[in-house]
C-alpha cells in the first residue's frame, strides 16, 4: 500500500492504494466514480478516458500511484451543480449518444481537444476521438455535436442531413 494524494474534479483525496491498482479501478471502486467505464481494460477502446493534468489518458493503463500529486478530471466533473456542460448539451441534442457506454470517455477526449483547439476541423475532431471506439453511432453525430459546440454548424440546431 502506498499513500497518494491527488485532486479529482477539483476535490482533494488522500488514500492508501495497492501499487498494482489501476487508476480506473481506483476511481470506480475506491472513490465510487463509476462514470468512467471499462470497455477492455487493455488500453484499446478509450471508454476509460480521463484527463490527467489536462491530457487524456486511458485510466486502465495508468496506476493509481502515478496519479499522486496530479489533477484528474472525470465525466463527473463535467456537469456543474447538476447543470449539463455545453458539450454534454450538444451530445444530447445531436443524439451523439446511443447506448451511452462510450460516452463518458468520448466526452473527455473531446474536452481535451476543445481545450487545445477551440475550433477544430472535422479532421481534427476525428483525430481527437480516434482512440475512442463507439460501436453504436458511426461517429457522425458525435462529430456534429463537436462542430456545434464549437460554433461551427452551418445551420445551428439542425441535423445536417435529416
Amino acid at each position: 500500500m502506498t499513500r497518494i494524494s491527488l485532486t479529482v474534479n477539483g476535490k482533494r483525496y488522500e488514500r492508501d492504494v495497492a501499487e498494482n491498482r489501476t487508476l480506473l479501478r481506483f476511481l470506480r471502486e475506491d472513490l465510487g466514480l463509476i462514470g468512467t467505464k471499462e470497455g477492455c481494460g487493455a488500453g484499446e477502446c478509450g471508454a476509460c478516458t480521463v484527463l490527467f493534468d489536462g491530457l487524456t489518458v486511458n485510466s486502465c493503463m495508468v496506476l493509481a500511484v502515478e496519479a499522486d500529486g496530479r489533477a484528474v478530471e472525470t465525466i463527473e466533473g463535467e456537469a456543474k451543480d447538476g447543470k449539463l456542460s455545453d458539450l454534454q448539451e450538444a451530445f444530447q441534442k445531436h443524439h451523439a449518444v446511443q447506448c451511452g457506454f462510450c460516452t463518458p470517455g468520448m466526452i473527455m477526449s473531446t474536452r481535451e481537444l476543445l481545450h487545445r483547439t477551440p475550433k477544430p476541423t472535422v479532421a481534427e475532431i476525428k483525430e481527437g476521438i480516434e482512440g475512442n471506439f463507439c460501436r453504436c453511432t458511426g461517429y457522425q453525430q458525435i462529430v456534429e455535436a463537436v462542430l456545434d459546440v464549437s460554433g461551427q454548424l452551418e445551420k445551428k440546431g439542425e441535423l445536417r442531413h435529416a
Binding site: 470497455g39 471506439f133 453525430q141
Partner: protein, 767 residues
Amino acid sequence: MKTIPEAALNVMGRTAYIDDLPEPRNLLHSAVKLSGSARGRMTRIDAARALALHPSVRVITWKDIPGENQLGFTVADEPLLPEREWEYWGQPLVLCLAETKGLARRAAELVVVEGDALAPTFDPREAAAKGDFILPPRTQRSGDPAAAFARAAYVVSGRADSGGQEHVYLETQGAIAEPRDGDRIFIISGTQGPAVVQRAAARVLGLPMNKVEVETRRLGGGFGGKEDQATTWGCLAALGARLSGRPVKLCLDRKTDMRATGKRHPYSSDWKIAADAEGRLLAFEADYYQNSGCSCDLSAAIISRTLFHAVGAYRIPNVRVTGFLCRTNLPSFTAFRGFGAPQGIFVMEAALDALARRMGIDPVELRRRNLLEEGDITHYGMPMTRVRARESFDSLLEKTRWRELRAEVDSFNASHALEKRGLAVVPNCFGVSFTKLQMNQGGALVHVYQDGSVLVSTGAIEMGQQVSRKIARVTACTLGIPIERVAIERTTTLTVANTVPTAASTGSDINGMAALAACEEIRGRLVRRAAELVGGPAAGLSIEDGRVVRGREDTGLSWDDLVLKTYESRVDLSAHGFYATPGLFYDMEAEKGSPFAYHVYGAALVEVRLDVLRGLYAVERALIVHDVGRSLDRAVDLGQIEGAFAQGLGWALLEELAFGADGRLLSDTLSTYKLPDAHFLPARLEVEMMRETDNPRAVLNSKAIGEPPLVYGIAGYFALLDALRSARPDGPGMYDLPLTPEKALDYLTGDRPEYGREKAAKGDTPC
C-alpha cells in the same frame, strides 16, 4: 427537440450498467475456466490448487447443477457446463467463486481440466461432406429453375464467402444473481431477452419460472450478441448464487467475452444465376453452408432469414435455395444485426456482379432492370405490396447523378495508374418480423397515477436504440399528453411475462403496439368519465396535449383533473396491453407463406479510393436513401441508419475474425480485431429519408429501423471490387468478404488466383 432525462443521465455518465450497480452485501465474484483446445473428452477436473488459494474459493462443475444442464430450447445441444466433451476453444468448463474478482480469476486459472483430444472440424463444407448438420437442410423453391437454366442466354456460377463478425458491444456480458426469500432467485442480466434467461435459469436450477425474476436495466450495446448468448452468464451467476446462498456477480473481461461468446455466422456459398439476352433474371440457385458453430442457438432462425433474403430486392421467377446448418468446433455463432440476411444478400449481389461482368453491362443497370415490383410474389410465396424498390433506387441514382458520376470516375481511372476510384450501388429490401412465427408477440403494462403521470413497462430492452423514447412517444400520442408525463420502467419478468427478446428490429413495433393497446383501453375509460363530467356524448371527445377537447374546443377539463376524478369514481387507471403481429403465416412443409409484416426499402451508393501500390483504400463517400415509413423520431432513426451502416461497412471491408489452425480465436482483443474508428467512416456520409408514406402494419405508421441499413455496407465491398478491377481489368471475380487491404493487395499482385481456378474447374462458365 425534446430532451428526456435518460439522455441527460447518459451524458453525465450516471447511467448504471451492470458493473456500476452498488454491490450487494456479501457478494461473491466469479470467473470461468475456458477450454484450451477445440475439442476434447473430459477425463478429470482437478480443483485442488484452486481451492487451496483462499478459503472463499468454490469450484462449480456440471455435477453441481440442481436442475437440467441444458440451455438449448430449439435443439438440446447446449449444456451450461459440458459433462463429457468440450466443443470449441474458449468454452466455459467450470465456474469459480471467490471473495474478489482477482481471486476468482486466479482460481479459474488454477483449475486443471484434463481430457483426450478429439479431431475437430472448422470448415462448414467439411462438416457438410460428413453430413454433420445441426438440423436437416431446408430448401425454398419457386418456378422451374432447371428449365430456366436450360433456356437462358447467360448462365454464370461461382462461390461467395463471408466472414464472421464480433459484436463488440462496448459493455461486456455480465449478470448479478441474488438468492431471495428462501428459494427464489433474482437475476440482473445484461440480456436482450429477460424471459429467455428466466426460462433457462429455472430449468438449470430446477425451479418453476415463478420463482425466478430477471431484470434488465440497460445494455451498453447488444446487436444480437445478447439475444441468446447472455443466457449462459445469467444462468452461471444464478447457479453460483443458488449453491453459495450469496449474491454472485459475473462480468466478463473483454478477452473472455471475445473468446467464449458467439459472433455473426460465417457462410460459404455456391450460387448459379441465369438471365435472358436482355439481362432479365430468369433463375437463381444457391447452397448456403452456414458455419453454425458447436450448437444450434439461433442458427435455425438465422438460416430462415438467409433463405427469405436470398434474392434481395430482385424479381426472379425461378429459384431454388438450400441452407445447411453445419456443425463445427467453433463458438456457437449467433444473432448479429441483420440475422443471416446480409449473408444471403451478399451472395445475390456477388452473382449479379459476376453476371453483369459476363454480359459486359453496367452492374447498376443490371440491378435496376430486375428490381422487385408491386404485386410480385417472392420465392416463398409472399405477395409484395407497397413496394418501394424502384422508387428508392431511382431516387438514389438521380441524387448521385449516376451517369455523370460513372463517367467522371471512369475518366479519372483512365488517367490515373496508381490511384483508382470505385463505385457501387446496392438496393435493400428487408423483411420485418421474427422469422420464428411464435415470437411475434408482446405485452405492456401501463399505469396512470393519481397525479396524471404515466408509467409504462414492456418487454423492450433499451440498448441505445431509444426504444424507450419511441414507446414514450406512442404512449404520449395515444393518451394525448406531453411526453414529459411518461416514464418507461426497466424491464422485468414481474411486470410483463413471456416477453420475446428485443431483436429482429421489432422492439418498437411489438412493444409500441402493446403499449398502444393498453393506452387505448385507459383512454376509453377516461373519455367515458370525461363525458359524465363535461356533459354530452363521449363520442367526439378526445384528449389533446393534456386537455379534454370536443372537436377543436377546449372543454375546460384538464388531463390532471380528469385522471383524479376518474380515480375518485373508482375506475381502474391501469391496463395490460397485448399485441400479436396479425396476418403472419408460414407453412414449413411447403416453405410458403407470408412470414413478414412488411418490408423496408432503400438503396446506397458507396465510393472508394484505392491506392494501387499498397492495396490501401478509403471509403470517400456514401449516400443512403432509406424508407422509414413515418418516422417516430428522425434523429433516432438517423442514428440507427448511420450506426448500422458503419457496422455493415466494417463487416464488408475491415473486421476480420481470425481463427488459428487449431480453432483458437486469434482476434481476441481490440488490437487484433479491427473495428471501425472515426476515420473509417466516409468523409461524406449523406442519409436521405424517403418521402414519408403510411405503413399500416406498424405502430403509428412507422417502420423498423435497427437492422435493414446494415445491408448498405455491402455496397462498400462492391465499390472496392470495382476499383480493384479498374486497376486489374483481367482480374477474376472475388467474393470473399471482408475485403481487407491484405486481400486487396493480393488481388492487385495476382497472388490470389484461387477464385478463378476454382470456378474453371467446376464446368460452368467462369466469371
